[in-house]
Structures are given as C-alpha cells and as structure tokens.
C-alpha cells in the first residue's frame, strides 16, 4: 500500500470531522431561533413523554387521535356515566402532545367546569386545564376569556374573573372593538364583585378610548349607574345616622334632607328618576336603577317559568318550585328584589310581578 493510498482515508476522515464541527454553529443558531428544545418540558411528564416516544415525533397526529377518541368516548356516554378524571387525563395528554391546540383547552376546560347536565361540574379541573393553556399559549386571548367566564359563573369569583378579562383584553392582535368589549366585561365583573371604584375607572378608559360611538354611550351609561350606586350608598349611610338619632325611619328622602343630616339636599340621580326610600331594607335607592333591575328580574323569571313549561308540560306549581328549577338548571341565583320587596308568582299564568310598583 503506497503512502498516498494510506493517507487518502485519513484526509477524508479529517474532512468528515470538520464538516460535523462546522454543522455545530448552525445547530446552535437553529436552536436559538426556535427557542430551546421543544420536547424538554413534555419529557418531564412521564406518561406524555412515553407517548411522545411511541409517536416517533409525530406528536400532533397522536394528539389528533386522542382528540377524536375523547370526543367519541364522551359523545357516546350519558352525563352520569362520564368520568371526569378520564376526561381531564385525555385533555392533559392531548395538550402535552400538542401544546398549541387551543381548542382542546377551551372545549376540555369548559366541559369539565360547567355543571351537569351540560358539563361535569369539575370546576377546579377545568380551571387547571385552562391555566395550562394560558401558560403554553401566552399570546392567545381566548383562553383567559374562557377562564374568566368560568370564574364569573361558577365559583362566582368576580375579582379573578375581572383580572382574567383584563388579561384577555391586553393580548396582542385583538381588534379595538373586541378589546373595548372585553375591557367592559372586566369592568362589569369588578362592579359585580363590589369593586365599583375600579369598575368606574375602566369604564372611563373605555369611554375615552373607544372608537365606537355605541360603545362610548354604553360606557357612559355604566359610569352613570356606578355614580348613582355610590350616591345610594352615601344616602343610605345618612339614613342610618337618621335612625340612630331619631329611632325611626324618615317618611321620605326629602324628610331625611330636612333633618340636615344630608348636606346640600338630595342630589339628582345621574341615571335619571329620583331617590326613594326602601323601608324593608332600610336603604335609599334610585327609582330608575330599581325599575331596571325589577324589569330585568321579571323578564328572567318569566322566561324560566316558560322554559319549565316547555320541559315539563306545565308551569311551576309554586314559587319554591320555580326557585329550585332556577338554582338547579342555571348558573344564576333566584333574584333578590332591589327594594327588599317580593316577587309574586302566579302558578296559573306562570307570570311574576313585583309586589310594589316603582314610578
């Protein structure tokens, strides 16, 4: 064997080593562009990482197969036969295999959280799944929005719901109209949770920044409502002072004003109407807000009564039956009369009326 023949493979091997070495900076650059290693997080979960290995890198396809399996399984079972742990496990695996599959978090989270008969009533598990979705898809607005609704309707944690509505509204790429609409939801959630001050600030921002005339008008109405509620609270404080001083209720807000406890007389209500005395709850209320609330409650109760008839062939036989139906079939509570009065139910017509009429 000549020297030349012996050297040839050596040179080739050197070239080989050099090429491998040259490829390393490219690999590093690719890693930098793509951001760390995509299977690192997943490989920390034993079950999912085993599945990933089985899939030989075709994770998305395996996620699709699990997705269809989950749909088939839960579509073929009656509500009582469905296993929430299994559903959570399915969606956990699907989203480990394909962390960007936003609809899997949305459908899975909502179905788990919603109370029976539409869902499984596993609110915590639903929230966990949506939390995971938010971590894996930090730029998606639909996941915090969906989770906000769950907090709002089921555990009724309005502050958390408001926080999530705000998170959703701050995501990049959403249209100004949708942004204004979701911000409005945050404001409403704050108000519902009793945080009127924050709610008012948010409505102010919407009023000042919204491109839509209708949206601005809506914001303005909400600001007026919050201001009226603040006045209600202030006047009710004065009413309590009056009761403490005289040992009885005043005959009217004007009577309260005449006592001098309220400085500068009874103010105008920003929403219109006047302030009235609600003796049963010892409070001063806005006639306009009370009227709106009573109308809203009566519409809701009448709709539920009609729904009952559609399902069972007749109207509820008593107010208690209507109350039970509402509490079991919807996410809402039986409404409380804003003036502390009663909602009178007629089982013959299925209609509800207020025991007092507000002008």
């Amino acid at each position: 064997m000549s020297v030349r023949t012996a050297i040839k493979p050596l040179i080739a091997l050197v070239i080989l080593a050099a090429l491998v070495a040259v490829s390393i900076p490219f690999q590093i650059r690719i890693d930098d562009i793509r951001g760390r290693f995509r299977s690192v997080e997943g490989s920390l979960y034993i079950s999912s990482s085993s599945l990933k290995k089985l899939s030989l890198g075709y994770n998305e396809l395996l996620a699709d197969i699990y997705w269809i399996r989950a749909l088939q399984y839960f579509g073929s079972k009656k509500p009582g036969e469905q296993n929430p742990d299994l559903l959570y496990h399915y969606f956990d695996i699907i989203t480990d295999l394909d962390p960007k599959f936003v609809n899997a978090y949305r459908y899975g989270g909502t179905f788990l959280a919603e109370p029976p008969p539409f869902g499984l009533g596993e609110t915590r598990k639903g929230i966990d799944l949506l939390d995971k979705g938010r971590r894996n898809n930090p730029e998606n607005y639909k996941l915090p929005l969906e989770e906000a609704f769950i907090y709002y309707f089921y555990p009724k944690d309005y502050e958390k719901a408001a926080e999530l509505f705000r998170e959703a509204s701050e995501k990049p790429g959403i249209s100004p109209l949708r942004k204004a609409s979701i911000t409005g939801m945050a404001a409403s959630a704050h108000a519902r949770g009793g945080n009127n001050e924050l709610s008012r600030k948010i409505w102010e921002i919407i009023y000042e920044t919204s491109p839509s005339g209708g949206r601005r008008e809506f914001a303005f109405r909400n600001i007026n409502e919050i201001d009226t509620m603040a006045l209600e609270d202030k006047l009710t404080e004065s009413l309590k002072e009056y009761v403490k001083r005289y040992g009885r209720l005043p005959s009217s807000p004007e009577d309260l004003a005449r006592s001098g406890i309220v400085k500068n007389g009874i103010p105008e209500a920003p929403v219109g109407g006047k302030f009235i005395l609600a003796p049963k709850i010892e409070a001063i209320k806005s006639s306009e807000l009370s009227k709106r609330k009573i109308q809203e409650d009566i519409s809701f109760l009448n709709a539920k009564s009609a729904r009952y008839k559609k399902l069972y062939g007749d109207y509820p036989r008593s107010p208690d039956e209507l109350r039970q139906f509402i509490e079991l079939q919807t996410t809402a509570d039986f409404p409380v009369h804003p003036l502390g009065e009663e909602y009178v139910y007629d089982p013959v017509t299925g209609k509800v009326e207020s025991s007092v009429v507000v002008d």
């Binding site: 090429l19 490829s23 793509r34 690192v40 490989s43 890198g57 394909d98």
Partner: protein
C-alpha cells in the same frame, strides 16, 4: 460532474420503475384523502386534522421510500454484479455514490412535490369551505408555513437517504434498514439526549452526551408541521440554517459512504 449526473439519471429511471414506490405513493394518497373522514368527526378542527394527517403521511412515506430505496442503492448493484460494468467505465467510486444519492434525491423531490400538491388542494378545499371557522379558531391560513413544513420534511428525507446509503455500502439490506430506522428513532429524540446532558451531574457523561447530541442527525430540527397548522416562526434564517445543516450533514454521510465503499474489494 457529467458522470455523476449520468449515474443520477439512471438511478432516477430505475427508482420510478420500482413497484414498491407506487404502492407507497398509493398508500400516501389514501392516507391523505382519509384525513377528510377523520376531519368530519373532529368537532370543527378540519384543517388541523387534514394538515396533521397529510403532512405525517408525506413524512412517513417519504422516510419509507428513502430507507427502502436507499438501502438498495449500492447493495443491488453489487448483488447483481452490475457494479463491475459500471466500474469498467471511467467512473470513480465517489462519483458512483454521489450519483446514486442524487438520483434518489431527485426521485424523492418529484414524489414529495406530487404528494404536497395533492394535500395542498385538499387543504385549500377545506379552508375555503370553512373560511370563517378556520380564521376564528386558528387566526389565519398559513400556506407559506405549509410549504415550509413540506420543504423541511424533504430535507429530512435527504439526510435519511444519506444514512441508508452509508449502511447500504457495507451491510445487507435488512441490516441496513434496521440500522437506518434505529438512527432515525434516535435522531427524532435528539433533544432528550441534550436534556440528559444538561441534567446529568457527571461532567464527563455530560460532555459525552453533548458530543453524541452533536454527532447524531438532529431530525427534530426538520419538524415544523405544527407551524403549518398554527402559524409561527419559520423565518428565512431558520430555513437557511436548517438547509445548510442538512447539506453539511448529508455531505458528511456521503463522504463516509465513499470511504467505506472505496475500501470494498469486488472479486
């Protein structure tokens, strides 16, 4: 170069006459079309299912073609003794290897393009039909990302042909296929090796794992199928660096195959 092209041309002609090729292509088309059935029971995730299943079909079939045709590239010529005819002409062994590789590479290009176009038509059909739903769920159509995903899959095939060619130059087709599939499996989980290198306490084992990670083909880098569904970063830099990586790695494999083939004696 002319001799390399001549070998490539013959390999291409031979490959497209192979019956295995047609049955695999038929299987791919059935898989792609069957995605419509799965999409219909997917709760409105039409484009995801069609793209996932279609791109996976292209990838699996492409890899199978790369392996099964790749392992026979050299072995068949030796077995049929046609290699004696070839080397009686002024063709160098490296030209033979490079020509064979190029021929199969071109075959794969034609097949991949054909399968991609069929799938793209299907995707287009679905996306036009469910325009509103897809925009709402996925925020866009990502056609460029779709073709990037196919291109990255093709780059992977090129590397796999190289791996099959290396094994085919010194062992039997069965063993070559087995070894190639092992390397593909390891290459598909290269980031696990990297993770191990990061987690391990011993610096020596860490260094060894890091070295293994750098040497094995990082086939994970050729997977941007997810971006074809959800959109995402497949920027020109990523395309460039991944292409260069595939070319360098393939070149290394071809040199390795040539070294082995050069040492082979034909009696």
């Amino acid at each position: 170069m002319r001799r390399i092209l001549s070998v490539a041309h013959n390999t291409f002609i031979e490959a497209i006459r192979d019956r295995v090729l047609y049955s695999l292509i038929l299987f791919a088309i059935i898989m792609i079309l069957s995605s419509l059935v799965f999409a219909s029971i997917s709760a409105e995730q039409y484009n995801k299912i069609v793209k996932d299943l279609g791109l996976t079909a292209i990838s699996i079939i492409g890899i199978l073609i790369s392996v099964f045709l790749g392992i026979g590239l050299v072995y068949k010529e030796v077995e049929r003794k046609t290699v004696y005819n070839i080397f009686s002409k002024p063709i160098k062994r490296y030209e033979f290897i490079f020509g064979k590789y190029l021929g199969l590479g071109i075959t794969l290009f034609v097949i991949t393009l054909g399968m991609a176009l069929i799938l793209f038509l299907l995707v287009l059909l679905i996306e036009i039909r469910y325009e509103g739903l897809i925009s709402f769920y996925y925020g866009g159509h990502y056609y460029a990302e779709f073709f990037n995903a196919v291109y990255f899959e093709y780059l992977e095939f090129l590397v796999v042909i190289g791996i099959a060619l290396v094994f085919s130059s010194f062992t039997t087709p069965i063993m070559s296929a087995l070894f190639t599939f092992f390397v593909i499996a390891i290459g598909r989980f290269s980031s696990d090796i990297r993770l191990f290198a990061e987690e391990v306490k011993s610096p020596l084992t860490g260094l060894f794992s890091e070295a293994v990670y750098r040497i094995i083909p990082n086939l994970e880098k050729f997977d941007v199928r997810s971006e074809a569904v959800y959109g995402g970063v497949v920027n020109p830099d990523l395309i460039l660096y991944t292409t260069v990586y595939a070319v360098i790695y393939t070149l290394a494999l071809l040199i390795l195959a040539t070294i082995i083939f050069e040492r082979k004696e034909f009696k």
